[in-house]
Symmetry: C2
């Protein structure tokens, strides 16, 4: 078969080339006297390729079958376009309709559709400019994350998805059973979907030095918010010999790296969102790239919030010892600083058992990173490397020490200071595209009561 060129290549590299084969889906068609103009897209980039069809080559009644959504294969020559919208176009020598799309039934006609409508046809929304751009950015951001860590001598690890442990002590877990069998028949003990790969990642970082996971994680929370999904993707690096400050440095460097390279490498897609969705997007992204993140202790955050409460009148009153709420996070990162904000040294009582106790014995070496518009996108900590302190934490929190003997081994044999964090990948995509609902960043989102496709 002849080689098929993707439109991204054609528009960038094939000026003047003759007899090029392209395939794609029709976005629009316009007929004029003697000629028709058809714009096709193949998903390789946002831009369409304009095909110029001489009715001498393809008769008009045949051309009329080339409707929005139809798929075609064309052979032709790439020539400079006299039109203003594009630099190059194809003069078609031969065109074949691969699959028609009945204009009376095809749901994606040329008009704006609501996000809510498009969620219902998630199998087709990828064919729109907006979702094509979101998924291309998602793909590139994922690759950039891998490249970032690989360049820095991290090993990519696969931590278990089905697990017996409950890392966060969070209550809402999905349980896994073999279809049609008793609860514990397959694994001979209760099995759950992971909420975090951290504990096993810690074990691996004690041999490989620096590791990261990038995989799906799960929460069976019955809440329907724009920022939560039952299934989402997390990046969890874990570094031997890192303290909290180095942990924060790495997270900031990672976010800057991904944002700056997406802005460069996906500039067309980012421009689409800046033009049609959120005029302030590119400026916001550039601030994240250029400005250092604000770093404040939790106690200082509470001080700022208490002061602001007089004007803001928060629903949840800020109080030392209580967790920050979304409204607090947004106030800090959007109103007060208008920058990414790192909050660190949280009260120990609102954080899990594995976080390292600070010398004040009241706070732990935890950190969260809050982004404007999105809120918390990173949560991390230095881990408790001291055997005795860790045992005391497990006992004080009423957990069963038998479940953590292997984890305690890591502190018994060659224990080291170490740190890590989790980055919510879907939330980073929300930030990159100025998308306000997590359901629009994942091709087929899973939320309570929703399991289509």
């Amino acid at each position: 078969m002849d080689q098929i060129y993707v439109i991204k290549e054609v528009l960038n590299f094939y000026e003047g080339k003759q007899g090029v084969v392209v395939c794609g889906w029709v976005r629009t068609r316009r007929d004029s006297k003697g000629f028709s103009f058809v714009e096709i897209n193949d998903g390789s980039c946002l831009k369409n390729l304009q095909l110029v069809i001489d009715h001498g080559t393809l008769p008009l009644d045949e051309v009329k079958r080339i409707t929005t959504g139809a798929s075609i294969r064309a052979i032709g020559d790439i020539v400079p376009s006299p039109g203003k919208k594009q630099k190059w176009e194809m003069h078609v020598r031969k065109l074949e309709i691969l699959g028609e799309a009945d204009p009376n039934k095809y749901p994606l006609q040329k008009k704006r559709h609501s996000d809510e409508f498009l969620r219902k046809i998630a199998h087709l929304r990828v064919r729109t400019n907006k979702y094509g751009a979101i998924y291309r950015i998602r793909s590139r951001a994922a690759f950039l994350i891998h490249r970032f860590f690989q360049q820095r001598h991290f090993s990519y690890i696969h931590t278990p998805i089905i697990t017996s442990s409950d890392c966060e002590g969070a209550g809402d877990l999905f349980q896994v059973i073999k279809r049609g069998e008793e609860l514990d028949s397959f694994f001979k003990r209760p099995a759950f979907l992971t909420v975090s790969g951290q504990l096993t990642a810690e074990a691996l970082c004690m041999g490989l030095g620096k590791v990261y996971t990038f995989g799906p994680t799960f929460r069976a929370e019955d809440s329907n918010t724009p920022r939560h999904a039952a299934e989402f993707w997390m990046v969890e690096p874990e570094m031997a010999f890192y303290d909290l400050e180095q942990d924060i440095d790495l997270a900031e460097e990672l976010i800057k790296y991904v944002v700056s390279n997406v802005v460069k490498e996906n500039s067309e897609d980012i421009e689409l969102f800046t033009r049609f969705v959120d005029k302030g997007l590119l400026e916001r992204l550039n601030r994240v790239i250029e400005e250092p993140f604000v770093r404040i202790e939790y106690s200082e955050a509470i001080f700022i919030l208490k002061h602001a409460d007089k004007k803001e009148n928060f629903i949840f009153k800020p109080e030392w010892g209580e967790d920050l709420q979304t409204e607090h996070e947004r106030y800090l990162s959007e109103k007060h600083f208008n920058l990414p904000v790192v909050v660190y040294n949280y009260p120990k009582d609102i954080k899990p058992f594995y976080m390292r106790l600070n010398d004040d014995e009241k706070t732990v070496a935890a950190m969260d990173i809050l982004l404007p518009q999105v809120g918390e996108v990173v949560g991390g900590s230095q881990r408790e490397e001291r055997y005795d302190v860790l045992v005391r934490n497990i006992e004080q929190m009423g957990m069963d020490i038998e479940d953590y003997l292997w984890y305690l081994d890591l502190r018994k044999y060659g224990s080291v200071p170490h740190s890590g964090f989790g980055l919510g990948f879907d939330r980073l995509i929300m930030f990159l595209c100025s998308v306000h609902n997590i359901r629009d960043t994942i091709p087929f989102p899973r939320t309570p009561g929703t399991l289509n496709f």
Copy 2:
């Protein structure tokens, strides 16, 4: 804090550098008069860094605490080594023991341990040369897969892990429920762990053109074989406009790309397996890189196997219309050809509904790739793009057409010829490292009755 250098950098780039900080775990210690020699490893590479400790700098009774498995932090100068084993060593100025490892209890003393024993201490086996090397190769192979597809204009997509559909029609599924609740309470319908992202990947390739998944997949099969795990990682590319031959070409190119770059970029790790595990490994890998894969039709494979059966006396008699068994796969790829073998055009009755019917109406455009030692590592097909044929398949196989209306939409609106395959990532690692049990390629494997960590 001072920057910590990883040993891989130190050995390659820091010759003659003074005042370098390194951290790592002790592999061995040897004391001689006035000096001790300590080899440390930090997981960044297979090689250790030799530390030379003057007993004037650290008294011998302190040095004696530096036992195998202990973690240390050292500052010193990188100087040429008079020893034969290494080019560079560190003369230590200052050394701190971060965590001891009681020699009477630490399970990884300097001797060979069996794979079975090490599986029981999966949280510690990463600290051995062998498993460190496997996981580094696994990390690099995963990155190479991403790089391969990104360079070829593919989008990386996340298909759902929790799904309502049963892509392969395979019986053994894991079901997902919210802990402590009724079966269907959370999603309002039965929910399962994915066995393949293919069907949703097809939807996305109809907008993005070329896509690939890389994620976990699941089988609730109660079989304990060295080649099966309940949770494993698959790579599933899906390409619009590709026919079966282009599908095979891409799979062959991908395998050659990963193998050749791992051989180059992880040469030390591959050498370890060639020296200590399987003398024929590097030669086998080089044949895969250099020789074209053998391509034969299923009918020809059966012909060869029937002929061979006189000598081989297979347990399962080869018969047209029956699936190939492991013994058949191994015969073809190891004995008959001694090369990777692509078998294509399988009988339609042993393949799923979505594979494209060939013109003979007896076979479908399916293909499997068999590797020596490992057997099937890739399974793929051209997909049935014709609406009517697909409907007939669904009906003939007694499946409920209501469940596939969205999938049929893809054939109704702008349908295109398209193809894809699934590559078993863990099996590729088995092949790369000459590891014979899939449990030894995954850090924390899940199999029937096994759910530790």
